[in-house]
Symmetry: C2
Subunit: 253 residues, 2 copies
């Protein structure tokens, strides 16, 4: 008897005009998606939205009801364009003010009171009811409101914040994966691959073509919660490709 599969979902909301203008290439989605996957939390959707209060409020209120967890990155710094904390307070219909523990940490960090400027004090403001998320890199904390976790946008800081809070997450059944890479093009393996997917309905089989060292290459990714089933499907897939005179190599992930 195997345990019932428990699915826990998440949405990542990247807040920042710099991603939408193309100035910055986001890396937080990949980092968080990978880390969450390892904890049994499946990222089901991501949004990239501008630093616009109405958009942040509407997006947060939509996704926090649809997904088990929501993670936001960006917009909690000291400048006028950092409006995420205020917008999240509005989404939850609560006020926002300085959090004493955040003020205490930042007072210690800056030492000289002249360096703890009014702008930096803004970073100690947390929506009422929010719990702090530690920031081992630059002290000014993120925060948690119910199932919504708010991190900084700088990848180094976002990653540290995630590491400091991830023990709080309750994941579902971990999704395992195996990858078979081949030199056969998708158009040739598509038919047996589709047949394999039909025989292994409990698995999710994805096909990802790419150019590797200038040559086309296809990664066939098997995902599922039962490793024995994954192993069986991988064995079949390797045999099928080799039976078609293709090269095939398996990578455990």
């Amino acid at each position: 008897m195997s345990e019932p599969v428990k699915t826990v979902t998440a949405c990542i909301v990247v807040i920042g005009n710099e991603i939408l203008s193309g100035r910055t290439r986001d890396s937080n989605i990949q980092y968080l998606a990978t880390e969450l996957g390892a904890l049994g939390v499946q990222v089901r959707e991501c949004r990239v939205i501008p630093d616009v209060e109405a958009t942040i409020v509407a997006t947060i209120n939509e996704v926090r009801r649809k997904f088990d967890y929501v993670f936001t990155t960006g917009g909690i710094g000291p400048t006028h364009d950092d409006i995420t904390a205020d917008s999240i307070a509005k989404a939850f219909s609560v006020g926002i003010s300085e959090h004493p523990e955040a003020v205490a940490r930042m007072t210690r960090h800056y030492g000289d009171p002249a360096l703890f400027t009014p702008a930096r004090r803004r970073m100690a403001r947390v929506p009422h009811g929010g719990l702090l998320v530690d920031n081992p890199v630059s002290v000014a904390p993120g925060f948690q409101m119910e199932n919504v976790f708010t991190f900084a946008g700088i990848p180094k800081v976002a990653e540290a914040m995630f590491q400091s809070m991830k023990h709080k997450l309750v994941g579902g059944t971990p999704v395992l994966s195996r990858t078979v890479r081949t030199n056969l093009p998708e158009g040739i393996i598509a038919e047996p691959l589709g047949a394999l997917q039909k025989r292994f309905e409990d698995l999710d089989i994805g096909s990802y073509p790419a150019f590797r060292n200038g040559k086309p290459s296809v990664s066939l990714v098997l995902r599922g919660t039962d490793d024995a089933r994954l192993a069986a499907a991988a064995v079949e897939l390797l045999a099928t490709i080799r039976g078609m005179n293709g090269e095939a190599e398996e990578f455990a992930q």
Copy 2:
């Protein structure tokens, strides 16, 4: 007399489990956002969604009404998990079948009929009413349904498809930008920067901290449609930072 500012908006929808699992780091958002910006089309939102028909249909129907243009990437290959074309047909409540011109191009490309497999023929299927988007890299076309353009997910192919159709886009007033980079931390420049934003309400001033060569650095990005105003704001900003004994350098973008 300056011309009235015309705003044209876009949404990018990245379709693919491989981005949501963290396996692949998306680069199409940055490419398309940068290219669209140069044409006067402002990306206002991006979504990353799974290869799930109901999600694709609901997302496309939401965003195609909200934005002037929609661009999708991913899910138009030959394998069973490529369901974007069928899902977009469903979103527009139309049928889908082989497009004669797409079949003709692919027949020429593959030469030997044995290579033009049933799986590859799937890539010639286009929702009824759809116009082809050329694919100079691997022939199988993308397509346009009203204001929705559907591209492949492989960056090389998505980029070529965009280049082949971008002359069709009618952009608004181009958004120009100037960047001032400084070694002063955000917490120190936040106050004069906020004051500058208040005096230049027609501009959008963003502050983006980063680590460069291990040292903190802040890029202050001024964006707007009037270059004279941008220049005036940049002059003030440079003077302000230098008046605070900070280093400041301007980059035209």
